[in-house]
Assembly symmetry: C2
């Protein structure tokens, strides 16, 4: 079977064409790998906004205990430990083997901070998910144009020098969503 | 500054030594990139169990509406749509640009399934996080040895042919955690 551009079998994203490439076919230019299915590689003709999952943000009451857990159980290593006064958190970034996705542990600086209120309401657990994007300002403009509300209309400072912006859970099925443009 | 092996500045994982490599130094063998800090690459001498974030599992009431949202807002493409009777879910996998991390959307098949009960209790939102591992059986043995309880003591079938196992939120700070060994 020859590789060919066609509409995806399930859902079409913004008119994107998807290419099914057999296992033995060479890679092509202007193709963006979006997955594999039944031995075939799937490519899209236009890039996807979300590059990868940058991190999961996990709310905890005791940052030291949470770090010990992820270090002791999974062998992760802490690569950053910061206080973000603007967000009211003390946070640690723990790298996975890939070096491009992280577990972010968040301890609130006070009970009335957003993470403090989250802990009060929901208890410890997953607080948000952060996706890497190439350009957070461009992504905000594109997402805003779809009618989704923005918590941050302009990027702000995140962990490890990244530019970040949050999108509200109300418009995204209950998921607090962060866009992350990592430091170059 | 020369690269050298040393104990990490913050926390030491299982006696792991971490190497700080300046930006202009070549890559070395037997090093596992775990992150970057202040322009330096950070390498560990032993591999980290969690390779990367494979997916975030998101519970939703209406799978079709949730898919439309992730396709329409972020341009993701659906690469798999499956029913998992054992887990009581209808699920979609949507690939990020990397092709190695996914948004997994989960609609319960019945209100008394685990995801059905989660929706009843917490509403729509993040349900679990899945990390890629090289060998899920080996990871389960290693994690079990740390005293963490296991939901699955042996791997079972997950999305897209993966071998998976779940770890309980009670032992992991409120986070339902999945180990994923993707189909080779």
């Amino acid at each position: 079977m020859r590789a060919r551009w066609q509409k995806p079998p399930l859902y079409q994203a913004r008119g994107r064409l998807v290419c099914y490439v057999p296992p033995d076919a060479p890679d092509g230019k202007n193709r963006h790998l979006i997955g594999r299915a039944e031995g075939f590689r799937l490519y899209a003709k236009i890039p996807i906004m979300l590059l990868t999952i940058d991190h999961v943000g996990i709310a905890c009451r005791d940052l030291g205990a949470a770090i010990e857990r992820y270090v002791g159980v999974f062998g992760l290593a802490v690569v950053s430990l910061e206080t973000n006064d603007e967000q009211g958190v003390r946070e640690a970034m723990l790298a996975t083997e890939s070096g491009t996705s992280y577990v972010q542990l968040l301890q609130p600086l006070s009970p009335d901070s957003p993470v403090g209120k989250f802990l009060e309401r929901r208890g410890e657990g997953m607080h948000h998910v952060g996706y890497a994007v190439a350009d957070v300002s461009a992504a905000l403009a594109e997402i805003g144009a779809t009618g989704i509300r923005l918590i941050d209309s302009r990027p702000r400072h995140g962990s490890m020098g990244a530019s970040i912006a949050f999108l509200p859970p109300k418009d995204l099925g209950g998921v607090l969503t962060e866009l992350v443009q990592p430091l170059g």
